[in-house]
């Protein structure tokens, strides 16, 4: 069992807490003037996204989580699992809906995604920062109103709904930022 001491704690380090892999999001050494020092640590549970607070005696060791991240290409879904292929080894892995999370609504196939693996199993999928998708349904815009303040909902080919400016018509391809879920621009073919 690989362990890591509090002196090596840094943001992004993956450790096991109560049997769950977590990532350190904040680490602060606190120390009385004389006496025992502690590390106050905030962690995000990778499987649930929940945030935890823990305190360790400085110098204590914690089990490291076997977590690594790799690029895979999204292939298809059979309804239960979402399949990804490694671009070099062609190895195929299946991620469940929980691991897929929000990524599902941005992917239609062929996109390169960042897959987080715990003990070799996918636990979270990060889609590309930007995707280009076609609008399948949106109300016709009100002519003349091109101000940026307005906007209307548009359904994309993957089922995601984003707000687009009023002038953007149906069947247009648009660029979306998957981190914010916001419209970026129209795509000129």
């Amino acid at each position: 069992m690989a362990t890591v001491s509090t002196s090596e704690f840094r943001n992004g380090l993956k450790v096991m807490i109560d049997g769950d892999p977590c990532t350190i999001v904040d680490n602060e050494m606190v120390k009385p003037g004389k006496g025992q020092a502690f590390n106050r640590v905030k962690l995000r549970v990778l499987l649930t996204g929940r945030t935890l607070e823990r305190t360790f005696k400085s110098g204590e060791s914690v089990e490291r989580a076997d977590i690594h991240e790799e690029e895979y290409q999204y292939s298809y879904s059979d309804g239960d699992l979402f399949y990804f292929m490694h671009p070099e080894s062609f190895e195929q892995i299946g991620a469940d809906k929980a691991a897929m999370g929000d990524a599902e609504k941005w992917l239609k196939g062929q996109e390169m995604c960042l897959v987080t693996l715990w003990n070799g199993n996918p636990i979270s999928i990060t889609p590309p920062n930007f995707v280009e998708l076609q609008i399948t349904e949106t109300d016709p815009g009100l002519r003349g109103d091109t101000s940026s303040g307005g906007g209307k909902p548009a359904t994309l080919e993957t089922g995601a709904v984003v707000r687009v400016p009023l002038f953007v018509p149906e069947s247009e391809r648009i660029k979306v930022d998957t981190r914010t879920g916001e419209y970026v621009s129209r795509v000129k073919d």
């Binding site: 002196s7 602060e28 050494m29 606190v30 120390k31 009385p32 003037g33 004389k34 006496g35 025992q36 020092a37 502690f38 106050r40 607070e53 823990r54 305190t55 360790f56 005696k57 400085s58 110098g59």
Partner: protein, 316 residues
């Protein structure tokens, strides 16, 4: 570091020096390298090796975590009141208020009681920070006021643990600590944060946390030790200094045993210091160590110690 910050630092240091010159406290310099250092199990010293003299083997040396032991040897030689501004070193201490090397101001006042020295600390600090008068609270009173503990010295480790659990403090259930460890835990997680906007002298630490302070003649459960907390940050730590050489040796031994129990490196006791204490004797005095950069942070309104240092650890 910008020129104006560098200038501010220089003005700050000059003001500290003139404070002591005006009071006829003599400035001294003592070694940064020594063959011994503190045995405190909660301080991790930097060690280095030098070739020994005249065919002796290599000699292990420590970078000092405080000039205390050397300054007390000077006091034992009847130096009178002395102060020192210089770098000190503590491995692994990095945070927004810790840097492994920092500037320590340390001074000793023969004939001063702890209360008298606290007044002088207050006078010095008020030159740099706009303060109302600094409140004085014993550690037991702080536990009473903040946590409702009626008599800290009547508690057991288990009771302090239950208190931490009832407050839902992080990892209280997993912590394995002795009584002193629980006092430290509650201090940093509950008591200090509750004084995040206060100016406070915490006084009379538990006798088990006396470090190099005298046990109080009025109450043997506590030591004549104080800390200055400004906005929840420890700025200074002071003692009515322990004069009893045998008691001092005994405390070093306890610390060495604790280091051993925790699997830490053995640190030799400073025999030259102990012998000065025994042979010449330390005059009745009080002394205090103050983290200069922490006071600068407050004075300049900075949130991170790296902002007041020309070369913080990440840049060396």
């Amino acid at each position: 570091m910008s020129h104006s910050l560098l200038q501010e630092r220089s003005t700050f240091i000059r003001a500290i020096r003139s404070f002591f010159y005006q009071r006829e406290v003599m400035e001294v310099e003592t070694p940064v390298l020594s063959t011994a250092t503190t045995t405190d199990p909660h301080i991790d010293p930097f060690t280095t090796v030098s070739q020994g003299r005249d065919g002796e083997g290599p000699e292990r040396l420590y970078l000092q975590s405080s000039p205390e032991l050397f300054m007390k040897r000077l006091l034992a030689e009847e130096s009178g009141a002395i102060f020192q501004l210089g770098p000190v070193f503590r491995a692994g201490e990095i945070s927004t208020i810790h840097n492994p090397e920092f500037l320590m101001l340390e001074w000793y006042r023969p004939g001063f009681t702890m209360e008298h020295l606290m007044e002088e600390v207050e006078e010095l600090v008020s030159n740099f920070v706009d303060l109302p008068s600094i409140e004085r609270l014993t550690v037991a009173e702080a536990f009473q006021q903040v946590l409702g503990v009626d008599d800290l010295y009547a508690t057991t480790a288990e009771q302090l643990r239950e208190l931490a659990l009832s407050m839902n403090l992080p990892s209280a259930a997993e912590m394995e600590l002795e009584w002193d460890g629980w006092v430290d835990y509650l201090m940093v997680l509950a008591i200090t944060p509750s004084f995040a906007h206060a100016a406070l002298f915490l006084t009379h630490y538990p006798a088990s946390q006396a470090a190099l302070a005298q046990i109080s003649p009025e109450d043997s459960r506590v030591a004549e030790r104080f800390e200055l907390l400004l906005n929840g940050v420890e700025i200074a730590n002071g003692f009515r200094e322990l004069q009893d050489a045998d008691e001092q040796r005994h405390r070093f031994q306890l610390e060495q045993e604790e280091r051993q129990a925790e699997g830490l490196e053995t640190i030799p006791m400073d025999e030259k210091f102990l012998s000065a204490l025994k042979e010449q004797g330390l005059p009745d005095c009080s002394g205090v160590a103050l983290g200069v950069e922490r006071l600068m942070m407050l004075s300049m309104g900075k949130e991170d110690i790296s902002e007041v240092m020309p070369f913080p650890i990440r840049q060396v």
